[in-house]
Symmetry: C2
Subunit: 204 residues, 2 copies
DNA sequence: ATAGTATGTATGAACGCTCGTTCGTATATC
DNA sequence: GATATACGAACGAGCGTTCATACATACTAT
């Protein structure tokens, strides 16, 4: 395996790269096949159809082949196996996810496009078959750890998802705020530090 | 004032309602003028141009006329005037924002569309002139309150924004999770309760 | 009160353009 | 010579927008 890529493989990848860039900045319906062809090395439109049967097939390929779920789930499972208390788990998981997330910014944008313009159909297929089962297993293990308030398990996945998604979206919104951008370390401080410890320790 | 609305006013509002609905579910470029006309009482396309000069003008009108900034800023300023400590402020502000936010779900969706398909131009104009000055004033007042960790002021607006946005987006994502939806009270418990108090009190 | 008129609001048909896709064919690659 | 990949040209369909025109409403002059 790891065969040397054929000319077609390279073309396919170049098309996916270009399409991803355009989908993210213009949306799916705002991106034309001609624009993709132009951005993928100035090709002709017709050539795209040697690699993808339709425009939607390009989008589906991006969601299915370029998602970070395997990497993220592996880390989550690793953390869940090591943490001794629920707060430990949450803090470690946040640290890991906040590290991985920015490396897959493109995919998160694609997710939002799928939600907006396809009602989430594309992501839904991937999540239901490949992601949720493993997340549920992690939550189950988490149930046995001390330091967990009596909240239903889904709260945890939503809590983490909310923080991480908020982090990413806010970074984007930050464009409008006349403030400097914050570093990764500052974000970890804010979420896992200030939020979980400092504030409440001093609060009412 | 408060004149009785003319036939044109009613038509205009009906068009905006229909356009908002379609933009949210299909995106800006995924929504056609004909689809808007059809959804706005089965009108003819040409009639839309008696009320809006272009398709983009409809979107701009939605962002400019149907944003909740005045209401939200008034509440934020009210809370900031009453709170005696920074944690008090954060908790009260969260409670208020989580109450208001779901009532303006549509607008938050429009914001995301503007970010995606227009690079945020539309929202940017509104935010810079009408929103940021007032937010900065609140942050300034907050600086004088006890219980505030030595973080730069922008952290606070980002923190709140992150939580609120995450909450809204996660509610949307919840569609894919095989869990029940959570009530407003449960969310307040999770954010202002568990997050700020319970967890850290039991954590390391 | 009535007739006439200006104004606001609606319409169907059409224009030029771009869209996603297909076709026939040419050029690489093996 | 077979197969994979590329191309230019063309298709029908749908797009945003405009135009000429008709109906509804409100105001003015009689």
């Amino acid at each position: 395996m790891a065969e040397t890529p054929t000319r077609g493989d390279l073309a396919r990848a170049e098309i996916l790269d270009a399409a991803c860039r355009l989908f993210i900045t213009q949306g799916y319906h705002g991106t034309s096949m001609r624009a993709i062809a132009r951005a993928a090395g100035g090709r002709a439109v017709a050539g795209l159809y040697n690699h993808f049967s339709t425009k939607e097939a390009i989008f589906i390929a991006l969601i299915e082949e370029r998602n970070p779920y395997d990497e993220m789930l592996a880390l989550l499972e690793d953390v869940s196996g090591q943490a001794q208390t629920a707060p430990d788990f949450l803090r470690a998981a946040l640290e890991d996810l906040l590290t991985i997330m920015p490396q897959h910014y493109d995919f998160l944008q694609l997710v939002q496009i799928d939600l907006r313009e396809f009602g989430g159909r594309t992501l839904g297929r991937v999540a239901e078959t490949r992601v949720f089962p493993r997340v549920l297993a992690v939550i189950e293990r988490l149930q046995g750890l001390p330091g967990l308030k009596p909240l239903a398990p889904p709260v945890w996945i939503r809590l983490v998802a909310s923080l991480v998604i908020g982090y990413v979206v806010t970074e984007k919104l930050g464009f409008f705020a006349p403030f400097r951008q914050y570093t990764h370390d500052e974000w970890v401080t804010i979420f896992a530090g200030t939020l979980l410890n400092g504030l409440a320790a001093e609060g009412a």
